[in-house]
Symmetry: C2
Subunit: 230 residues, 2 copies
DNA sequence: GTCTATAACGAGATAGAC
DNA sequence: GTCTATCTCGTTATAGAC
């Protein structure tokens, strides 16, 4: 790569970032359904056809925003976890949960993009999966470390659910016992239920001291996957 | 009310229903953000200004759809519960949970309207609250009957959360002990987390046997609010 | 009074010619 | 990359039929 190409690449990166920033702004103002390449271009002083050099279609821009959001959330979870000693499993769990909540409250529109209602007419391609999996991997990592260390306690598995639980363990959490994998998936959905209700306003006039309420709910979820009580 | 008024009222009811039906169709196709009075009118062979006799604005139409959705969900929960003997508290709980899930899977777009991302630029008025509360009232009713009958077991309340839990009990579940009220609110959010993940596709390639998985997750939520284990 | 239709406003999106 | 002609939208004013 020579100097000219380096400059070109740098310019391309910068314009790409500017497009995504403006698109995120519109996401917040109008919602994902109304995201329009033309409006983004207008706001940037570009002509709409120029955007197609950076994103071949509106759906590709959406996909880029979704991947960025998942990565940003995943990184927040990973960073939060890094501050906690590996052996303090329950604290690791709640810290990660709180980081996810904090991220969602700080970026409600990006949260809506990845965990809210699907955008009509848009189907996320498989390329989003690795980024989407990052948060989950952090949570599974805590449970795995607990299993490999002090052990998981108090998680039962009804016979009826065993085949499905074994399949889940094999597919998404190899090394975890089926009862832990099944409890993990439920806790994962429930965690985002708590966060979604808060972000989308369902807790208005219901929960006041939301941080405290969440902290305890998250701890209870940790116990439900077998982590030692705090 | 004389005969002429009866006919007028009937016609008005019919047109109102036709407008809402068509609006629901568009909700499914384009999403709430793009719901358009003009398109509804066009599809019904009316002129757009005529719709204003029935709904004073686009937002009022949206509000009517939201109230209908909440009422339909609330009614589904109430009906499902009516089929279960009052004293079988755990079965009542899981039956109601399954009814909510069934309703959501059958009407994903109406589910998205009430429990998905907020519609940009729209704020639900207070008139939606009573309808929104119906499902919750059914769930609270089960817990209240359990408390007044066999008693609730295994729900603890950390001191730190007690003031908030007492406030929640007083505001939304009078007669319930604070630990039950707090657990109820958490279970409520977690229940809709499970349902939302399924409806919005987050369980794709993760959970296969979703009905079974949900049944057990719902039972576990019931236990978390203190209902006797099944 | 109750309804529908016509026409218009200001705003924004879109398609195509150039 | 630019311009224009033609769409969409929510909403209102007005007029006339029942």
């Amino acid at each position: 790569m020579n100097a000219a190409e380096g400059a070109r690449a740098r310019a391309r990166t910068e314009v790409t970032a500017a497009i995504k920033d403006e698109a995120r702004r519109q996401l917040a103002a109008e919602g994902a359904a109304k995201l329009s390449l033309r409006a983004v271009a207008r706001e940037l002083g570009m002509v709409s056809s120029a955007l197609y050099r950076y994103f071949p279609s509106r759906d590709d821009l959406l996909t880029a925003l979704i991947i960025d959001a998942y990565d940003s959330l995943g990184e927040a979870a990973e960073t939060a976890q890094a501050d906690v000693p590996e052996g303090e499993l329950t604290r690791r769990w709640t810290t990660v949960c709180e980081a996810v909540r904090g991220w969602a409250l700080a970026r409600p529109h990006e949260y809506a993009l990845i965990y809210g209602s699907p955008v009509p007419g848009y189907a996320a391609p498989a390329t989003t999966v690795p980024s989407a999996a990052r948060v989950t991997m952090v949570l599974i990592g805590v449970v795995r470390d607990a299993h490999d260390g002090p052990g998981l306690t108090g998680v039962s598995l009804p016979d009826e659910l065993r085949p499905e639980a074994e399949r889940m363990a094999a597919d998404i959490a190899p090394g975890l016992p089926p009862e832990a994998a099944s409890a993990m998936v439920a806790a994962w959905a429930e965690l985002f239920g708590l966060i979604g209700f808060e972000v989308f306003g369902q807790f208005t006039r219901v929960v006041e001291d939301r941080e405290r309420f969440f902290r305890h709910a998250a701890a209870r979820l940790g116990a439900s996957v077998g982590l030692p009580a705090a």
